[in-house]
C-alpha cells in the first residue's frame, strides 16, 4: 500500500474534523479519539514494519515527480518517532479522561489534541522544507490553544510569552527558508542536499546552517534559547504538559538532526563544533535548574533541557555510534518524560501542591505510585537494565572514540545530577512523614497511575529489549551517516 505513510497524518486529521462537530458530547468524543489514536498507533507499527522490510518509503503527493511536488519520506528515524508520538498521545488521552475536566473537554480539547498529533507526525514525515514549516505551524497553533485552554491567569500570561517567542522563531524560519531558496533554488530536502553537495557548502551556507540552528534551537530549547521553556511549560495542566514535554521540543531536535546530517555535512568543522558547545552548555544549565528547584514540575521541566543537550551532543560528534545513541536516547526520552510528567501529575492531583516541602509520605497510602516513580527515575538517570542506559552508553563511547573527553565527561556528570534531582522528589515527596491530603479520590488516583504506569512499562521493556530493537536503530543511523540513501530514495535515479 503506497499511501501507508500518510495514514498517521490523515487519521488524526479526519478525527479532529469529526470531533469538532460533536463538541458537546464528551463521552462520544472520548470514545472516538481513543479508538482513532489506537488506529494511528497500529498504522505506525505497520509503517515501521514496512520500512524495516523494504527500506525508505516515499510518496509523491499528487504524483508530481520528486523535486517538483511535495514528497513525504519515511525513513526508520521518522517512522520510529511517529510510532512513539502516537503511542504517547494515546496514553495521554487515556490520562486526560479523568484529569482534564469536563469544561475543557467541551471546548474542543480532543480535536486540538488530534491537530497536535497531525502537526507532529507531519513534521516527522515531510520531505520538503517549507512543508516542514507548515507542519510546525499546525503543531504550534494547536499548542497555543492547548496552553491557554481554560483561561486561568497563569495560562494567559505564559501563553502570551510562548506565542511571542514562537512567532519570532517562525518568522526566522521563513527567512531562513528564503535564504536557502535563493542559494539552491529548491525546497525538496533531498534535492537541497544534492545541490549543496554540488556547490560544496560555501560560507553563505554555513551562515544558513547557523540560522537553522537558531530556529530549531528556539523550538527545541537549546542553551541560550531555552529561556521561555520553564515558565511556559509550568502553566498548562498535566496531560498537556506531558504532551508538550514529550513531543514539542523533540520536533526541534529532530529537525536539527535532519538538517545537520542531510544538508550541512560537508564542512562540519564550524557548524558541528558550535552545536557541540551549545549542547554541552545546555546540559550544564539544565542541570543547574534541575537541582535548584523544590517544585516537582520545574525539576522535570529542566530535565527536558538536559536531555535535549545530551541528544544534540551525540549528534554533534557525527560519529555513527554516538548518532545511534542519540536516536536511541531520543525515543527513550520521549517515553520517559511523558511518564514522569504523568506521574508527578498524579502526585500533584493527590497532594494538591507541586511544592516538595509541602508533600511527603505518599508511599504509605500509595505504594504502587511510589515504586513506579522510582523505576521511572532510575530509567531517566540511565541505571543499566533500564532504557536510559544504552543511549547514553553509546553516546559516551562514540565521543570517547572521537576523543571528545570533556563532552563525554559532562554527559556522565549530568546523569548524576539528573539522578539527584529525581531522587530528591522521591525522598521528599514519596518517602518521609505522611501528611493529610485532600486531592482526588483514591480510585481516581489509581486510574491516573495505571495509565502512566503503561508508559513506565514501555520504557522498561524498551530498555530490556534493546538488543531486539537494535536492527531498527542501526537502520535509522545508516541513513544519517550516509545521506545518499535518503537522496536516492527520494529522487529515484
Amino acid at each position: 500500500m503506497t499511501n501507508l505513510l500518510i495514514l498517521p497524518i490523515l487519521i488524526p486529521l479526519f478525527t479532529a474534523i469529526i470531533l469538532m462537530f460533536i463538541s458537546k458530547y464528551v463521552k462520544v468524543q472520548r470514545g472516538i479519539s481513543a479508538v482513532s489514536t489506537l488506529i494511528t498507533v497500529a498504522a505506525s507499527l505497520v509503517l515501521i514494519n514496512t520500512v524495516h522490510q523494504d527500506g525508505i518509503q516515499t510518496v509523491n503527493l499528487g504524483s508530481w515527480v520528486a523535486p517538483f511536488g511535495i514528497t513525504l519520506v519515511s525513513d526508520m528515524l521518522s517512522a520510529l518517532l511517529v510510532m512513539t508520538t502516537s503511542i504517547i498521545t494515546f496514553i495521554v488521552l487515556l490520562y486526560s479522561f479523568k484529569s482534564i475536566g469536563v469544561d475543557r473537554e467541551r471546548f474542543y480539547y480532543y480535536p486540538v489534541v488530534q491537530f497536535l498529533l497531525v502537526g507532529v507526525n507531519g513534521a516527522f514525515t515531510t520531505g520538503d522544507i517549507f512543508n516542514l514549516f507548515v507542519f510546525f505551524e499546525v503543531m504550534l497553533m494547536s499548542s497555543y490553544v492547548l496552553l491557554v485552554l481554560g483561561g486561568t491567569k497563569a495560562q494567559l500570561r505564559e501563553g502570551i510569552k510562548y506565542i511571542l517567542v514562537n512567532v519570532i522563531s517562525s518568522a526566522l524560519f521563513v527567512i531562513t527558508v528564503a535564504y536557502l531558496y535563493s542559494v539552491v533554488g529548491t525546497l525538496n530536502m533531498a534535492d537541497i542536499s544534492r545541490k549543496i553537495a554540488v556547490v560544496n557548502q560555501p560560507g553563505i551556507l554555513t551562515a544558513i546552517a547557523i540560522l537553522f540552528l537558531l530556529v530549531f534551537g528556539l523550538k527545541g530549547a537549546i542553551f541560550p534559547l531555552y529561556f521561555w521553556l520553564p515558565g511556559s511549560y509550568y502553566a498548562p495542566p498535566t496531560p498537556v504538559l506531558a504532551m508538550f514535554g514529550a513531543l514539542l521540543t523533540k520536533v526541534g531536535v529532530y529537525s536539527i538532526i535532519r538538517t545537520y546530517t542531510l544538508f550541512f555535512y560537508h564542512d562540519t568543522g564550524f557548524t558541528h563544533e558550535i552545536l557541540g558547545i551549545l549542547a554541552i552548555l545546555t546540559m550544564v544549565l539544565g542541570c543547574i535548574g534541575a537541582i535548584a528547584y523544590w517544585d516537582v514540575k520545574k525539576i522535570i521541566i529542566y530535565n527536558i533541557v538536559i536531555a535535549v543537550g545530551v541528544i544534540l551532543f551525540g549528534v554533534s560528534t557525527m560519529n555513527p555510534e554516538a548518532l545511534e545513541g542519540s536516536i536511541y536516547y531520543l525515543v527513550h526520552d520521549m517515553i520517559i518524560k511523558a511518564a514522569l510528567f504523568l506521574l508527578v501529575g498524579v502526585m500533584i492531583a493527590i497532594t494538591g501542591t507541586a511544592n516538595l516541602r509541602k508533600m511527603g509520605g505518599l508511599i504509605k497510602h500509595y505504594p504502587w505510585l511510589g515504586w513506579t516513580f522510582l523505576v521511572a527515575a532510575f530509567s531517566l538517570a540511565g541505571i543499566p537494565p533500564l532504557s536510559g542506559f544504552i543511549g547514553k552508553f553509546l553516546i559516551v563511547r562514540g565521543s570517547f572514540a572521537g576523543e571528545d573527553y570533556v563532552g563525554a565527561g559532562i554527559v556522565l556528570a549530568s546523569s548524576l545530577l539528573v539522578l539527584y534531582s529525581v531522587i530528591k522528589i522521591f525522598l521528599n515527596g514519596i518517602w518521609g512523614t505522611p501528611k493529610e491530603y485532600n486531592g482526588v479520590s483514591k480510585g481516581d488516583a489509581r486510574y491516573l497511575w495505571m495509565t502512566s504506569a503503561v508508559l513506565v512499562v514501555l520504557a522498561v521493556g524498551y530498555g530490556l529489549g534493546a538488543e531486539a530493537l537494535r536492527p531498527l536503530f542501526s537502520q535509522a543511523t545508516e541513513v544519517l551517516v550516509n545521506p545518499d540513501l535518503y537522496i536516492d530514495a527520494v529522487l529515484k535515479e
Partner: protein, 113 residues
C-alpha cells in the same frame, strides 16, 4: 532593485525588534506584524526581482516571474494572519483578566521555590 528591497526589509526588521522589546503588549503585536511583513518581502526579493509577466499562462509572455515564492508568501501570510488574530484575542483576554498590558507586570513566580 534587490538592494532597495534589502534595505527596506532591514528597516522593517529593525522597527520590529525595537517594538517587540517595548513594554506595551500592543506595541509588541505591531512588532510581530512588521516582522512578518519583512519576512514576506524577503521571500519575494530573494528569488530575484527581474522583469517578467505575471505567472498566468494566458499572458503568453516570453518569461514569467518565479511563481514559487508567491505561493510560499501566500501560505505564510494566512498562517501569520491566523496567529496574529489569536494573539490579539489572547491579549484582549489577558487585559480583561490581568488588568494590565504592561509586560513588566506580567511576571509569574509559580513554582519558583
Amino acid at each position: 532593485m534587490e538592494i532597495v528591497m534589502a534595505v527596506v526589509v532591514g528597516i522593517l526588521f529593525t522597527s520590529a525588534v525595537y517594538l517587540m522589546l517595548s513594554k506595551s503588549l500592543l506595541r509588541i503585536i505591531i512588532g510581530t506584524a512588521l516582522l512578518s511583513h519583512g519576512a514576506h518581502l524577503l521571500i519575494l526579493s530573494v528569488s530575484g526581482l527581474k522583469g517578467g509577466a505575471a505567472p498566468l499562462l494566458g499572458e503568453h509572455a516570453e518569461s514569467y516571474v518565479d511563481p514559487l515564492p508567491q505561493a510560499l508568501i501566500l501560505t505564510a501570510i494566512v498562517i501569520s494572519f491566523g496567529v496574529t488574530a489569536f494573539f490579539l484575542v489572547l491579549a484582549y483576554r489577558a487585559y480583561q483578566e490581568l488588568g494590565t498590558d504592561n509586560m513588566d507586570q506580567m511576571r509569574g513566580n509559580e513554582g519558583n521555590d
